[in-house]
Subunit: 446 residues, 2 copies
């Protein structure tokens, strides 16, 4: 049986490895348009911050290992362009311009996502860069090392933008960030978002809300992002307004698309064609809180989806529960985490949300080094069910959020969650964990 | 209505405050035999480590506040000695030797636990100290500040012993620990226990297993813990072999006792007498994994139990789910955490346990500062249900264990847990959280 995979990053290579391990006789071919496979894209902001670190440090497993040790037919420089579902073939072009057509019995589309480039005059010019692929990381690193970059402008304020503003500051670069919408971190409760904004501004970053860039102009070595009567200048411009799923090849083949035009998949990661799977940032997922499809392109789901496809292709049970939208990022001295729905999402999905924001502490009463942790929690007034949590703080946030994530997967009510026996020791938190304090207070509103 | 409470620490004062807030007209009286109320006992090792910190820093709320702001009749220096259930009275003696008898409509026994002093000749002499009450903390701190203490001997190796060996080392004191049993941290998986032992020994602590102390002898300023032909010397001896519930007053009154002679309580914290509650370290609890009673004297349960009693006494719903046995402690550079059952406990409670130990990492592939995290996980072969987890590592352990704790409360199978959407960012862990990696590997054995 021929198992063909389009895309050689997290989902694609996880599926390839898993399928080949499960069934060594399976012919597994991977088509990757770049020369890079299996790397930690999320690690790029930290790698770029360290001018001496090779970008290749982020490669998790080398192409050679997949080929020689695992027996996977890994073809880099192979860009898939179209799928013929009737003939069960994939056609494309190599980086040398040669055309190819390959047959499959089962196909996995793991094409990932690409940065969105907004419609701005001059956006496609040297020094205007985005960050998604390892090649993007190389480009940014080279740009920084080959010229004198004193200022950077970041278009967008999502988590990649925030991680990269820390990266630039660590390299001694002044940073301005701008975006058209007037709200900083709009998915976040406003009190928590204000804490993050204050941290970013305290680190000397210019935060410019409500500025819609109309053009990027060059003046010698300096680029100017023009917005109305003002302009922000830098020697590098980072475009970080978001990503979109690379689903064109699936759409062209007539496969069903879901939210945000991600490829629609069932719990076994099958598309609307039962011989074709999709996994990773190009595919959608079931959200365990809403029971509806959602598109949340994150690394764990990509890896998990790849494994599940590798299992299902080889005849093993592999149904996935879905996602809770759990995410964390670091920005300067803060950990910022979320899981589940925020208030507006809860309302949009038909819940009657109640919410609470609390300030708690990262260590016990009287323990030195104690810092503030903020928690936002949302629940449904009707059922009492926990719907989501958000946390911000300098310590004790990144892993704590997982307790709430497990509660969402388990469908716990706030009361049930409030009764969980969480760990306590003075160096690690108050007796009442901040999540429990939030749950205790939220119960009063239900 | 008269609500009488014996014991003024976590459970007692939580119940008093909650009941009074719920029902201001309630007459709430608290009998506390010492002069200290409402303090963070768990913080004492850290307070002792800092020679300049006042022990009183650990007081969460002062007696004055309970009396003047909350209207609680708080009587310190009042030791309850007996309960007359027929007459509904409690009798005792004040620190000045005056006898008292007080009536109650509802009674809460919140007498806590006391250190166990093993049968060793010479154990009751100056310089041989235990650590449970704030007064114990004062005594140890005074002893250390008033004389030249170069060496300490700790009898016992539980978490208080381990926390205190760090405390002594921080104060420049050499430490030897001994205990009769041949196994270091017997409740812990042996591979994880070996990691903890190595850390303790690396910090210069002498770990002496299989030594049964027979006598404590004094030679001038030095105390010698004698065991067979050997002796360990120090200017302070800490007795830390465990605690026992202060349940004598309940036993004398004919109330039912549970495991370890803790006072047996129902989900509403009622004893076998429906007018008498028990909460905190003197009371037992339902274990959510075994469905049986257990005695796990920890701070969160004490606080939660106090609140539940305060609610139930005032007519509010207050049933508690139970405990999962979740605990964490810090020893030098390690975080050590557990929740649920270990392999032996699982077998003893009739499960067919499978287990796995994995080594994972505290940060993502290629991220600087990456350290090893060890995870042990146990599940039931029959049902696939997750039964327990243990973790050791220098970071990312203390709060991660809570995800497993919530899974135990929710009765998740290992497979269900393995599918949870946990947070990922390179500074905080690998894409596959160490708990998920453990779950993935454990599933292969089910």
């Amino acid at each position: 049986m021929k198992f063909l995979i389009i895309g050689g990053d997290a989902a694609g290579m996880s599926a390839a490895s898993r399928a080949k391990r499960n069934m060594p006789a399976l012919e597994v071919t991977v088509l990757e348009k770049t020369q890079d496979v299996s790397y930690s894209a999320c690690g790029m902001p930290y790698n770029i911050a360290d001018r001496d670190a090779a970008v290749e440090n982020l490669v998790v497993r080398e192409a050679r290992v997949f080929r020689e040790k695992q027996g996977i037919d890994l073809r880099t420089g192979h860009e898939a362009r179209s799928i013929d579902r009737a003939a069960r073939t994939v056609s494309g072009t190599t980086s040398e311009g040669r055309e190819f057509t390959l047959p499959y019995d089962r196909l996995l589309i793991a094409t990932g996502a690409s940065p969105v480039y907004p419609q701005i005059a001059g956006i496609r010019q040297p020094g205007v860069l985005a960050l998604k692929s390892l090649e993007d990381g190389r480009s940014i690193k080279q740009w920084l090392s080959q010229r004198r970059v004193e200022r950077a402008v970041i278009v967008g304020m999502g988590y990649i933008a925030l991680e990269m503003c820390e990266t630039f500051r660590l390299r001694g670069i002044e940073v301005d960030m701008l975006k058209p919408r007037p709200v900083f971190l709009p998915w976040m409760n406003d009190q928590l978002a204000a804490v993050v904004r204050k941290e970013v501004e305290t680190q000397g970053v210019g935060v410019h809300l409500g500025l819609t860039p109309s053009a990027i102009e060059r003046r010698g070595e300096t680029l100017r992002v023009v917005s109305g009567g003002t302009a922000l200048e830098g020697q590098i411009i980072l475009i970080a307004v978001g990503v979109r799923p690379n689903s064109e090849i699936a759409a062209k083949a007539g496969l069903a698309l879901g939210p945000s035009r991600a490829i629609s998949v069932d719990p076994n990661l099958r598309t609307s064609d039962e011989n074709i799977y999709a996994a990773g940032d190009c595919a959608d997922a079931l959200h365990v809180v809403t029971g509806r499809k959602a598109w949340v392109p994150l690394a764990l789901r990509a890896n998990r989806g790849g494994w599940a496809v590798g299992d299902h292709v080889t005849g093993r049970p592999a149904a996935l529960q879905g996602i809770a939208g759990t995410a964390v990022f670091k920005v300067f001295e803060l950990q910022v985490a979320r899981t589940g729905l925020n208030w507006a999402e809860a309302e949009a999905f038909g819940f009657k949300p109640a919410e609470v924001v609390i300030e708690s502490r990262s260590r016990a009463h009287g323990h030195s080094g104690n810092k503030t942790i903020w928690v936002h929690m949302t629940a449904d007034k009707g059922s009492g069910r926990l719907l989501g949590a958000q946390m911000v703080g300098p310590e004790g946030v990144a892993h704590r959020i997982n307790a709430a994530a497990v509660a969402l997967h388990s469908g716990l009510t706030v009361e049930q969650f409030s009764q969980c026996d969480l760990a306590y020791a003075p160096p690690f938190g108050p007796v009442w964990d901040p999540l429990l304090t939030a749950a205790n207070q939220l119960m009063r509103q239900l």
